[in-house]
């Protein structure tokens, strides 16, 4: 999260994120996302906002919050949000080192997949297939879990 920001900016992002967490606490819906995911999203949006003020391109924080407000409700799926998060945490440990490093660079060093390919001196296709394999593994495992879930309300 700190990537791309100097120490002062990182402090500023942390403070603004804490204030946002306070302001938006009432809207936090734990059936939709885990607290860590929610706070991550807020901190990420604040960082984007700060980059924008520094003249770098980004969408407004409020735009992102609007983006994440689903336009159609799928309550039967959202019950699982907290469980999904716990499962994602476990599943990350099962990814190969090659796959994990690409994902970590995206989240911690704020690099696009193109920049990651350049840095690791890998063909773009290799980076793309690592991302797709990693996400494929997560999706497969989560969908398998859902098959074993009893239908909600049962």
């Amino acid at each position: 999260m700190k990537g791309g920001a100097d120490a002062d900016s990182a402090q500023e992002v942390a403070q603004e994120a804490m204030i946002m967490v306070w302001r938006r606490a009432a809207t936090f819906d734990r059936t939709r996302a885990s607290a860590a995911t929610w706070i991550y999203t807020i901190a990420r949006n604040k960082r984007i906002d700060l980059l924008r003020r520094a003249g770098k391109p980004a969408l407004e924080t409020e735009d992102w919050l609007a983006v994440f407000a689903p336009e159609d409700e799928r309550p039967e799926k959202s019950i699982l949000a907290g469980q999904t998060y716990t499962r994602v945490k476990e599943l990350l440990g099962g990814l190969s080192a090659d796959q994990l490093i690409v994902i970590e660079k995206a989240f911690f060093e704020d690099k696009t997949h193109t920049a990651i390919a350049e840095e690791l001196q890998l063909p773009l296709g290799t980076v793309k297939s690592r991302i797709r394999l990693a996400l494929g593994r997560l999706r497969e495992a989560l969908e398998k879990d859902e098959e074993h879930e009893p239908p909600s309300g049962a």
Binding site: T41, P57, L59, E62, L65, A106, F108
Partner: protein, 219 residues
């Protein structure tokens, strides 16, 4: 699963988006597909879970002494409610909320060379240009090829080109290997957001006089 797009944005682009690394133009294009497509939204939600899990596992970094106090002192001044979402403009009921933020007040379709209509979508970043295009059923864009990345999200109706059929919620990314000529499907007019990294180059006779216009940002 209902409404799942046959043309989702590629997953590496969704990772860039979820981690907050996409420039404004492509981010807006992905945001619109996220708003329209439950399947893509789920993928992005999963990626947010990944971000949260990585954050949770990473070593804590110490804040400055006094950071808590400064934060608490700013709390009193912070409004509890965020700003209201923008009002939907009449005639733009097909526009997802994220796009409504970008539509200039009183936005109106303007007829452009080639017979289709356009609304410029102002971006703060100057690396990309964005515009809404509207094509009447059966109407086509001039044959063109792309020299740089182009992102398209269909918001209403649909179009067909040599790569397939794209309907509301579908995402297309260029450059493809071939020149293409999208033609709007029957039914409602086709409305799409187009985000261009650099001007496109028209092939064929029309290109001779249209390309200079494109380079000047007319299209």
């Amino acid at each position: 699963m209902k409404n799942m797009s046959r043309h989702p944005a590629p997953e590496e682009l969704l990772l860039d988006y979820a981690a907050g690394n996409l420039p404004e133009g492509p981010a807006l294009a992905v945001a619109l597909q996220v708003a329209l497509d439950p399947g893509v939204r789920r993928t992005v939600e999963r990626l947010r879970d990944v971000g949260g899990a990585l954050l949770d596992q990473s070593a804590a970094a110490a804040l400055d002494e006094g950071a808590l106090e400064r934060t608490l002192s700013r709390l009193d001044a912070a409004p509890v409610e965020g700003p209201a979402p923008p009002a939907r403009q009449p005639g733009f009921d097909w526009a997802p909320v994220a796009l409504a933020h970008y539509l200039p007040a009183g936005a109106r379709w303007k007829r452009v060379f080639g017979g289709f209509e356009q609304i410029d979508v102002p971006l703060r970043a100057d690396t990309h240009r964005a515009a809404l295009l509207r094509l009447a059923p059966g109407q086509g864009l001039p044959v063109h090829r792309h020299v740089a990345n182009e992102y398209t999200v269909v918001l209403q109706g649909g179009y067909t080109d040599n790569t397939g059929n794209y309907v509301a919620g579908d995402f297309a990314i260029g450059p493809g290997p071939h020149a293409h000529q999208p033609i709007a499907d029957p039914g409602d007019p086709c409305i799409a957001l187009i985000v261009l990294e650099k001007p496109i180059v028209l092939t064929g006779a029309a290109g001779l006089f249209l390309n200079p216009l494109l380079r000047w940002g007319w299209l």
